[in-house]
Amino acid sequence: MDQEELKNLEVSKSVDARGTACPGPLLAAKKAIGEVDSGQIMEILSSDEGTRRDVPKWADKKGHEYLGTVEESGYFKIYMKKK
């Protein structure tokens, strides 16, 4: 997905983990995914550099679809679709 497509996704759950360092965002994602239905989109907001790779890898391992990452000013948004 390109940046425009990612920005236009209909997000069912947004997790703002910008205040925490690793492993905070990963744990926040893990907790929040349980509140999302299959096929729905979840986004995770983070400013933690370790999370940039950690969350997509985790999503992949758990069978969710990693859709892409959008850069914002001072943080980024990671998009995934729940399996």
């Binding site: 205040g19 925490t20 360092a21 690793c22 492993p23 905070g24 990963l26 744990l27 994602a29 893990k30 907790k31 985790w58 391992k61 758990k62």
Partner: protein, 142 residues
């Protein structure tokens, strides 16, 4: 449903930095739905005593001991939870069991499960720890 992977941690340390690292690893395992057995050994058992819980500042660093103030300040600035909270949160997320080594408990005056923090599950012998390591996909000594 495929069976969860299993991790065993032999947690010997009673130092603040290593307990924090163990908590972070435990969090990663929890995020990955691993079953984790933590065996709290000698120095670790002191940190898990009820009277020590919350007294994070009284624990020392294993390395660079003179940088403790900086270490604590950085954790606070980075919004990192106290080490025990990692263990508590991991228990809420996945199947984490915290076992206190019977000998270790006695060294610090802890005879009963009630002498330890509420997240401790039981007091066990070393045989169980070794068996758990044997059956694990990953085992760590920290």
């Amino acid at each position: 449903m495929e069976e969860n992977k299993k991790m065993t941690i032999a947690l010997f340390t009673g130092s603040l930095d290593k307990l924090t690292a163990a908590g972070v690893i435990l969090s990663g395992a929890a995020a990955n739905d691993m079953d984790v057995d933590v065996y709290v050994l000698l120095q670790g058992a002191r940190a898990f005593m009820k009277e020590m819980a919350g007294k994070t500042d009284e624990l020392e660093l294993a390395e660079n001991k003179e940088l403790k103030e900086q270490f604590l300040e950085s954790l606070e600035r980075l919004n990192v939870k106290p080490w025990l909270e990692f263990f508590r949160e991991a228990k809420e997320l996945t199947n984490v069991k915290i076992h206190i080594c019977g000998l270790a408990g006695k060294v610090w005056g802890g005879e009963k499960l009630e002498d330890f923090v509420d997240i401790a599950d039981d007091i066990v012998g070393i045989g169980e720890c070794v068996t758990s390591m044997e059956e694990s996909d990953i085992h760590l000594f920290i």
